[in-house]
């Protein structure tokens, strides 16, 4: 049975880790605090990143209920890249043992610009390096147990590829003669595989030819954004709710996938409802189904 289960174990709370956030910059230049966007990157520009941790290993030993002489921890820095919520490839940039009583650890690495694409996802994690000989029932025991981690997602290039996939275009030029040429927006999504990355397989096109509407969407007018958001949500939820395959894998969708997004939205629109009742609502009272989605697509009016 043990091989089929992941037992709960104690993790390290933020209070026990003094974290110096990620710094980033071109190699051989002073590093700057990492923000959501790293400007002016291209393949020719190699990047250096670093972050720091300050820890008292005695505190960790007490908290994890593992004797100090048996506690072996490592700090691992990893980087991921590739468009979408999931990095398309992830690699290790640095790894350090925590082996002194009061450990000040720096994770630092250089990343070749040529292997990056669209985003840089950085993770700093404290993991259990080896199984302790003796410990308490809820102490972590398995090497690789993730005890604490911090992530940051940094957009490279102009960042446009990695945010919510949205684009302003002239529908007259982009979709000449198509039935949706006169629509104010068009939500494209690839259905058929709910495990696909949401950001990578959907795109909202806003019609630049409809100047007034376009302007209000770009300005974030909540009265216009509500039907836009509703349209995005309802297109996915209507297909998913009626699809047995979607329900079969309901609890398995990874974060960032179309399936996970649909599960999240269903929870918002139909709190506490069972699969059967949602399916039944769609079939027997589609108006209620859609209005329920519309009501949670409401945007806050800051004015």
């Amino acid at each position: 049975m043990r091989d089929n289960m992941a037992f709960p174990f104690i993790t390290i709370p933020d209070e026990l880790v003094e974290f110096s956030p990620w710094m980033i910059g071109p190699v051989d230049e002073p590093l700057q605090p990492a923000n959501a966007i790293f400007e002016n990157w291209d393949y020719a520009r190699d990047i250096e990143v670093c972050c720091g941790l300050n820890l008292r290993i005695t505190d960790l030993s007490d908290h994890l209920q593992i004797p100090l002489h048996e506690l072996r921890l490592e700090v691992v820095g990893r980087a991921g890249t590739g468009k979408g919520r999931f990095p398309k490839t992830v690699f290790e940039i640095d790894r350090r043992d925590i082996n002194s009583a009061s450990a000040k650890i720096e994770i630092r690495g250089k990343v070749k610009g040529s292997i990056l694409s669209a985003r840089l996802n950085l993770e700093c994690a404290i993991i259990l390096a080896s199984a302790p000989g003796s410990c308490q029932p809820f102490s972590p025991m398995k090497p690789g147990s993730r005890l604490w981690s911090r992530h940051i997602d940094i957009l490279l290039e102009d960042g446009g590829d990695s945010r919510f996939p949205m684009e302003s275009v002239s529908f007259k030029s982009a979709f000449p003669g198509k039935p949706h040429q006169g629509a104010p927006w068009y939500f494209y999504w690839y259905h058929g595989n709910y495990h696909m990355d949401f950001a990578g397989s959907t795109r909202l096109y806003v019609n630049r030819d409809m100047a007034r509407m376009h302007e209000r969407i770009v300005e974030g007018d909540p009265f216009i954004l509500q039907p836009v958001v509703y349209d995005v949500m309802s297109q996915i939820l209507e297909v998913a709710a009626a699809d047995d395959l979607f329900w079969e894998n309901f609890s398995e969708y990874s974060e960032g996938s179309i399936g996970a997004q649909a599960v999240h939205w269903l929870g918002m629109a139909f709190p506490g409802k069972s699969h059967e009742s949602i399916k039944s609502l769609l079939k027997n009272d589609p108006g209620c189904f859609h209005s329920s989605i519309l009501s949670v697509a409401e945007m806050e009016d800051d004015q």
Binding site: K88, G144, S145, Y188
Partner: protein
């Protein structure tokens, strides 16, 4: 430092339109730089950071076409032939210098290859213009092969370098490579494949699909709490082999239980739940009809 070869990209919006056009008029692949000029208004490149190289994309396309022709493209349409093409194309793409940069991680680069340079090859490999095979992403006709190749490559000079590519079933490939949380971690994905291959030595091939699906559920769940990618390849292999072994024994037990139930019913012993409900309905029917 080698200059990155900047490959042509096809934005999603143009890909959508081209697919519609394909359904009305069979696609004509671009075979020369001159023909590529017809798509100047639709193709883009990274603005800086390397050297624009449409000729590299043409060269890749020529090589893939050559591999396909070697197995009988376009006339030969047997499934086995297409599977063989996939394996050979996987090895070629994984080794191709064109895809050693971040360009290979871009969906629009792969969309350009399928829509502009090789639409005929894609429609041979996947009939009916299924859009997932043309658009960039995990199902793109060639992008999926490249991802498989770079992850499953045991390395130049290694014994059985392409053994995983040659022997993994399509179902196993899909289970690994259509899960971004797994396929994005090359060491993790490769060791799952290694464990699959080892398990297949003693599990009937008819059970492997079931075993793989169950094992992947467990591995994905555990990967949320354990940082699998930080473990060594050997540790990962041992871990996954344990999961596969446990799952295959459960599948085996279930099969034995099922056959035992079938046998026991024949001998008049306690019926299974399903058989029980059948006899319940028989009793109800008898009660109402008297028969």
């Amino acid at each position: 430092m080698n200059t990155v070869l900047l490959l042509p990209r096809l934005p999603l919006i143009h890909a959508c339109n081209l697919l519609e056009e394909f359904k009305e008029n069979p696609p004509n692949p671009v075979r020369t730089l001159h023909e590529l000029q017809n798509f100047d208004d639709r193709i883009t490149y990274a603005p800086s950071g390397g050297h624009r190289s449409p000729e590299t994309a043409l060269e890749v396309a020529d090589n893939l076409r050559r591999i396909a022709m070697g197995v009988g493209f376009p006339a030969e349409k047997a499934k086995g032939v297409k599977t063989y093409f996939d394996k050979e194309a996987t090895k070629f793409l994984a080794d191709s210098p064109a895809f050693k940069s971040g360009e290979a991680l871009r969906d629009d680069v792969w969309a350009c290859l399928t829509f502009i340079f090789l639409p005929d090859l894609v429609s041979w490999r996947f009939e009916g213009y299924p859009r997932g095979r043309y658009f960039g992403g995990v199902r793109n006709a060639f992008q999926r092969l490249w991802t498989r190749g770079v992850v499953l490559d045991r390395g130049k000079g290694s014994h059985g370098r392409w053994q995983l590519v040659d022997h993994l079933s399509e179902d196993a490939m899909v289970q690994i490579f259509e899960r971004s949380s797994i396929s994005g971690n090359p060491r993790l994905a490769q060791q799952i494949a290694e464990a699959w291959l080892k398990t297949r030595e003693h599990v009937p091939s008819g059970d492997m699909e079931n075993v793989m699906r169950r094992a992947m559920k467990i591995i994905r769940l555990k990967n949320e709490v354990y940082s699998y990618p930080v473990l060594s390849a050997d540790s990962l292999f041992d871990e996954f082999l344990r999961v596969f072994s446990k799952v295959s024994s459960e599948v085996d037990i279930k099969k034995n239980d099922a056959s035992r139930h079938a046998g026991s019913q024949a001998e008049g012993e306690e019926p299974s739940a399903e058989a029980g409900s059948r006899s319940f309905f028989s009793r109800m029917k008898k009660r109402f009809t008297g028969r």
